[in-house]
């Protein structure tokens, strides 16, 4: 080793010459202050479990969506002005279409990496909502919503609603036949609301469907309003998580007052950064190898065109299934009509989300347990909650399958009316069955090995 290097390392070892890290710390302290807090937080403890990565999947999907979304926003034209297409995709040559649709065709066929970024964006959106729901299920089944985390539960549920709605806005932007059909259905659902429905639909859409301003209206909501709201709530969500610390599963050395885990620096920071990049890599691989939402095959939206195998993105599938399965029970009250679609499309979502929002208080009503807790429960420790949750998610799953019933019928060669009838029976019969079965099993076995 040269003399110079020897002197430097000796100096660092004895504190005489500052290392790069020390220099950085000194700069921060002089320009920011609070080095004692920073020192503490360097060792912020994160309990270890694979189940705690689920929220991170959602968070990192959001980051991927924002980054890819910025790229897309530079090319998308949020206008329904009619243009005649003459781009590279010849089967649409000479077809009049909206500027929005045309810009998405250009993105997909003419902009370098445009199709890749578009597909990564869409795959990330699908995985985002899926991760949020799995994350919610984990919270639910392990009791993470109990005091002092009730408010964080409410914030998380609000995030789920905002994200789902933003996804709906997002895939409607290209103004293709599939998503435009979805907007038609959204208009019909809105106008089915008693008293205010027709006015609300007309005001929100800018007139009777189809309107020429709906894409331009959705655009700022999708790229700015909702992402800003999501980012804000996310900040609060993570801030509370930071201040209250993450919950942990029961184990040696762990209780409501003591937490055990990895320090943030270096272990956790390395792992979570690595996980973010792995997630981005998986999403990019999907965006490169698996085609999603080929809008050039769907054609531009026209109110006279329709396609079979028409579904919204998967996370709206439960709503689609409810709408398909609910019979046509219109109610005529004098000169007024309550259309049948009001019940599965407006009332049912309310019935689904209201108990979810109220759940921490419903839980208190059932258990009369008010303590501040930091230790989670294994799902089978609360057989009643596990049964209720299993039944609830079974109900949503049957609805989800119902939303794609014509695709399943075609893919597997089943008869569609038979499948529909079966699902209508299952949606009533299966949830209580699964709940009872879950209760029986949970009472007997502990599933702690699954989530340790």
């Amino acid at each position: 080793m040269s003399e110079h290097r020897l002197k430097k390392s000796l100096g660092r070892a004895f504190g005489a010459a500052p290392s790069p890290a020390r220099r950085a710390a000194r700069w921060l302290d002089r320009n920011l202050g609070g080095s004692s807090i920073l020192r503490e937080e360097l060792r912020h403890i994160f309990p270890d479990s694979w189940a705690f990565f689920l929220g991170e999947i959602a968070l990192y999907c959001f980051i991927v969506l924002v980054v890819t979304g910025i790229f897309l926003a530079l090319f998308f034209h949020a206008s329904q002005a009619i243009v005649v297409y003459h781009g590279s995709y010849h089967p649409l040559a000479g077809v009049p279409m909206s500027d929005a649709y045309s810009s998405v065709l250009d993105l997909s066929w003419n902009v370098r990496a445009g199709l890749l970024i578009r597909q990564v964006h869409h795959w990330a959106a699908l995985v985002f909502v899926a991760a949020l729901i799995i994350h919610l299920m984990r919270m639910f089944f392990t009791g993470a919503y109990r005091r002092p985390r009730r408010i964080n539960w409410l914030i998380g549920l609000s995030l789920l609603l905002l994200v789902g709605f933003n996804g709906l806005m997002g895939y409607s932007l290209p103004d293709d036949l599939l998503s435009g059909t979805g907007l038609r259905i959204a208009f019909s659902i809105t106008e089915s609301i008693p008293f205010i429905g027709p006015t609300m639909a007309s005001v929100l859409f800018g007139g009777e469907f189809p309107t020429t301003g709906i894409i331009a209206r959705i655009y700022p909501v999708h790229i700015f309003l909702l992402p800003a709201a999501i980012a804000g709530l996310l900040g609060a969500h993570l801030g509370l998580l930071w201040l209250q610390r993450h919950t942990e599963f029961p184990g040696p050395g762990r209780d409501d007052r003591t937490m055990v885990g990895s320090p943030m620096v270096p272990q956790y920071a390395l792992r979570t950064t690595g996980y973010f990049l792995l997630l981005a890599g998986v999403l990019t691989a999907f965006g490169a190898l698996l085609q999603i939402n080929p809008v050039w095959l769907y054609g531009p939206f026209r109110a006279t065109d329709a396609t079979t195998s028409a579904q919204p993105d998967w996370y709206m599938g439960w709503l689609e299934g409810a709408v398909r399965m609910f019979p046509g029970w219109d109610i005529q009250i004098g000169g007024f009509l309550l259309p049948a679609i009001f019940w599965p499309a407006v009332v049912l979502p309310g019935l689904i989300f209201t108990p979810l929002f109220l759940w921490p208080w419903l839980d208190w009503l059932a258990m009369r347990d008010n303590r501040f807790v930091n230790v989670l429960q294994f799902p089978s420790q609360r057989p009643g909650r596990m049964a209720v949750g299993a039944g609830f998610f079974t109900f949503l799953t049957v609805l989800l399958v119902g939303g794609g019933d014509d695709v399943f019928a075609k893919a597997f060669g089943w008869s569609l009316p038979v499948l529909l009838r079966t699902l209508q029976v299952l949606v009533i019969v299966l949830p209580p069955l699964v709940a009872a079965l879950t209760y029986a099993i949970a009472r007997r076995r502990s599933v702690r090995w699954l989530v340790s």
Binding site: F53, L54, I57, P91, G94, S262, P294, T308, S309
Partner: protein
């Protein structure tokens, strides 16, 4: 001279060389006899057909289709000296499709000419049909070599087809397809479940010319799209668009069945499972950690 009149009805004259005119006159005589024989029973049973030259619509050079079975189509007699394609046609195809492709009870007419601007042309529709066969049409892959198939495809598209379909193109076909066809067959042509238990088929698995036959003759639950529902040019356009769907481009990667958001959602669940698996791996070592 009936055939000449049929040729020039609604289309205007075409300038041809003297030799070609002579050839045409000679063949006219033959075609008159054949046409008279073919048309007479159809004429006897046909209900009234409007005179197409009076039609105001630019696309409706009418091909009066009065019934579903016999389809008397105005066809153009071959205009150039018949080549090897004509011999192949006469030996293999005319039995069902008629000597000049005018169609018959079991087979639709072949009155289509490739649009000059379309890159692939109608030959691209004929060759797969001959090679692979359709629902009611046998495959000729064993009787004919590839070169022979190309020759007969050329012959059909250049000699037999009528100029009425000259302006047919896939993008017009796509617009019609999305208006009339996608409701049952889906925009990607992969078919869909019908409400009474049967399914509209995946039309991408047949040669696109099969779509022409289905439009003209109907199929099972499928209604007929002929006459004034769709005219010859529109039918050809739809068939050319179906050809696009048969060879559907998938620049984004694997098509996942072209069935829309349902398989996409299922595959997205796969991505989530992969990520959960990675998380399990990542947390594996520290899961039983003791302070």
């Amino acid at each position: 001279m009936v055939s000449l009149w049929l040729v020039q009805r609604g289309r205007g004259c075409r300038r041809v060389s003297a030799a070609a005119t002579a050839a045409r006159l000679g063949l006219c005589a033959a075609s008159v006899l054949i046409l008279a024989a073919a048309l007479s029973p159809a004429v006897a049973s046909a209900s009234s057909s409007p005179a197409p030259s009076a039609s105001a619509s630019p696309s409706a050079v009418a091909t009066p289709i009065a019934t579903l079975t016999a389809a008397p189509i105005a066809v153009q007699a071959p205009v150039a000296p018949a080549g090897p394609g004509a011999d192949i046609f006469a030996a293999n195809c005319s039995g069902c499709h008629g000597a000049v492709g005018q169609g018959g009870v079991v087979a639709p007419s072949l009155p289509y000419r490739p649009p000059p601007l379309a890159p692939a042309g109608f030959a691209s529709l004929v060759a797969p049909m001959v090679r692979q066969g359709g629902i009611q049409m046998p495959s000729f892959a064993r009787q004919l070599t590839d070169a022979q198939i190309q020759q007969v495809a050329q012959y059909v598209s250049q000699q037999i087809a009528a100029p009425v379909a000259r302006s047919a193109n896939a993008s017009d076909g796509g617009q019609i397809f999305r208006l009339y066809c996608a409701g049952c067959h889906s925009t990607t042509g992969r078919g869909g479940a019908m409400a009474r238990g049967r399914n509209a088929p995946d039309i991408s698995q047949y040669p696109a010319a099969e779509a022409l036959a289905a439009m003209i003759l109907g199929r099972g639950d499928m209604p007929v799209f002929a006459g004034h529902a769709l005219d010859v040019r529109q039918q050809t356009s739809v068939a050319l668009y179906v050809d696009v769907l048969v060879h559907a481009p998938s620049p984004g990667g694997a098509g996942l069945g072209y069935l829309g958001p349902v398989p996409e959602g299922a595959v997205g669940a796969g991505a989530l499972l992969i990520l959960i698996f990675i998380a399990v791996w990542l947390a594996w070592k520290s899961r039983k950690a003791v302070p």
